[in-house]
Amino acid sequence: MAASSFSAAADAIVIASKIDTEGALLGNMMVMLLRAHGIAADNRLQLGPTQIVRQAMLAGLVDLYPEYTGNGAIFFARESDPAWHDAAQAYALVKQLDHDKNNITWLAAAPADNSWAIALRRDVAQAQRLTSLADFARYANSGGSVKLAASAEFVDSPGALPAFAKAYGFKLARGQLLTLIGGNTSATERAAAEAISGVNAAMAYTTDGALAVLQLQLLADDKHAQTVYQPAPVIRGSVLAQHPEIEGILDPVFRSLTLEHLQQLNAKIAAEGDAPAVVAAEYLRANGFLK
């Protein structure tokens, strides 16, 4: 697991991930699977934020890493395209764009949608019978007590809270927002779980492992206000040409990763503190992908 060389060995595939829990999970799965099938893999996980990893791939320094379909909107500067709100369309669009422009191939995506969401304290959700964002909008508009902890980016970015507000017809006043610098769902979720400063709702990602543990309930986005973010392996075309079997190895694994599975696996890493490699290995063995 220790990567001590500055640059990859000539024939090993460089596998990277972003500095986050899910990236570590998916990245470790990729490393183990490839090695189990006899393909040399260079572990460069937890490399950096999205832009760094993406740049590294475009520069040919990284061969394979897990990326989200919705990020295509930013990569190709097409934020206003409605295709991003539909899972199938988003996948097809980013696959075509990256293939045509950068010779980068998107392999099969996991059926989970890890997008921005609003999570509510379970006791409040149950007491008020709120399960979806439509319910939430009604509740907020009729004067229900709401205080949302979110990052500045979530509050201001047109694709985030403003998109929800527009789609569901609600508006949160300044006093109903607790804005944090830095975009950490861990921080916002903890704030809601512990009712810090009266917070009862939190900005979240749908696959966050903390949600169940911290007794938070996700509000369903029935109107697809959010961009879809499905995780999929992204590989350089030339590398795939040399190792076409990689597609067959990764496809079944990713297709098996439902939202529930991802939430459980993320919970093991975040809440119980198990090592991502261990959690990944357990899942792969339990489902027969690894001996």
Binding site: A56, A59, G273
Partner: protein, 374 residues
């Protein structure tokens, strides 16, 4: 009745207050929740009484007239209590876990850090008052390091969340530590072999300093993350691979240049003009003057700059993790992302220890050259 040793008085008062009022350990049901803060007394038992008693003893000692014997007692007590506190933290943590559900996490609280800091300061103060030589300071440090190592290897720290974080990623930690040291070592080495000659060049012609320092000062003002990130694309275009490590080293070198150049120049220019004139007049060649006179005399100032550079680079290298260079920073950022404070500590504490070690070693080295002032 006024305390004779005001430093010890204030510090031991703080430590005492921390023992009574502040949380020593924080117990959380899982890694994500905030947890409940417990004071030494709530944790119960002998350790609490012993630690509080020791703080009171130190407080009392601050009223005793200052004498060498008293200072030895204070020093000994401070070191002993510091070590005991480490042990107590581990012991109490393990104790808290015995009947707790799986997944419970125990973290170190304010009282631990405060008393630890105060005790360390008391020990340093005692060493100062005793005019302790290098050997004595090394001995004190060695005792603490050895004790910590003993407690760790005996498994006494295993109850702490910090230790759990380490245990779930031991290989990763070793690799990160090694990578961190490598990044710093290579960067500092390059900064010296580029910066020292540059400093010499500037010292030989005072009119050169404005331009050189202008550029170097400007480099210092560029935010580190920006500089780290900016270098990836141009470097890969040149075919210099190495995700993150090479641009990280380049950025670290650029930040390290200013102190090296400035201190080399100051060291060389600071040599008494009369000494140089006498050396020339006596028939030493320019090379002999440089190697036998200017460099040895400039060494203390140069080493002072090297100390700054080393400590700065060790800290800056944390940011290198953001561009894939690895190092201890990867734990810091992972921990921030997961809101796992102990993971952040897993990255931050070794970094601080490294910086202190580098500072100590370089100060020792500078001491050898400081035999006679110019």
């Amino acid at each position: 009745m006024m305390p004779r040793n005001r430093v010890v008085f204030v510090l031991s008062l703080f430590a005492f207050a921390a023992c009574i009022f502040a949380g020593f350990l924080t117990i959380a049901p899982n890694r994500l929740a905030s947890g409940q803060s417990l004071t030494l007394w709530q944790l119960g038992g002998i350790p609490g009484a012993a630690l509080t008693g020791a703080c009171v003893a130190l407080l009392a000692l601050s009223f005793v007239p200052i004498a060498r014997g008293v200072e030895y007692i204070v020093l000994g007590l401070a070191i002993a209590v510091f070590v005991f506190q480490l042990f107590a933290a581990g012991f109490l943590a393990t104790g808290s876990l015995t009947s707790a559900p799986h997944g419970t996490r125990v973290s170190l609280g304010w009282a631990f850090w405060t008393t630890g800091f105060c005790l360390a300061m008391i020990a340093i103060d005692a060493l100062q008052r005793l005019n302790a030589g290098t050997l004595a300071r090394l001995a004190a440090l060695a005792i603490i390091v050895a004790a910590t190592a003993l407690i760790t290897s005996g498994g006494w720290f295993d109850g702490l969340s910090l230790m759990r974080e380490y245990q779930t990623r031991q290989d990763e930690f070793a690799a990160a530590l090694g990578r961190h040291c490598l990044l710093v070592a290579v960067a500092v080495f390059l900064a010296v072999i580029i910066g020292a000659p540059l400093g010499l060049y500037v010292a030989r012609g005072p009119q050169r300093s404005a331009g050189t320092f202008g550029v170097l000062n400007m480099l210092q003002t560029i935010p580190s993350v920006a500089l780290f990130g900016l270098l990836i694309a141009p470097l890969s275009a040149l075919g210099i691979g190495g995700i993150g490590a090479v641009p990280a080293i380049i950025a670290l070198v650029l930040y390290s240049l200013l102190p090296v150049v400035r201190n080399t120049e100051a060291g060389i220019s600071g040599v008494d003009r009369g000494v140089i004139d006498a050396a020339r007049g006596m028939g030493l060649t320019p090379a002999q003057i440089l190697w036998r006179i200017e460099l040895p005399l400039g060494m203390p100032i140069f080493l002072a700059g090297l100390r700054i550079v080393a400590v700065q680079a060790i800290g800056l290298a944390i940011v290198a993790a953001l561009i894939g260079a690895g190092g201890l920073g990867s734990f810091v950022f992972q921990g921030i992302g997961q809101y796992a404070t102990d993971l952040v500590l897993l990255g931050a504490l070794p970094t601080i220890a490294l910086a202190l070690a580098a500072d100590f070693i370089l100060a020792l080295l500078a001491g050898f050259f400081e035999r006679s002032p110019s």
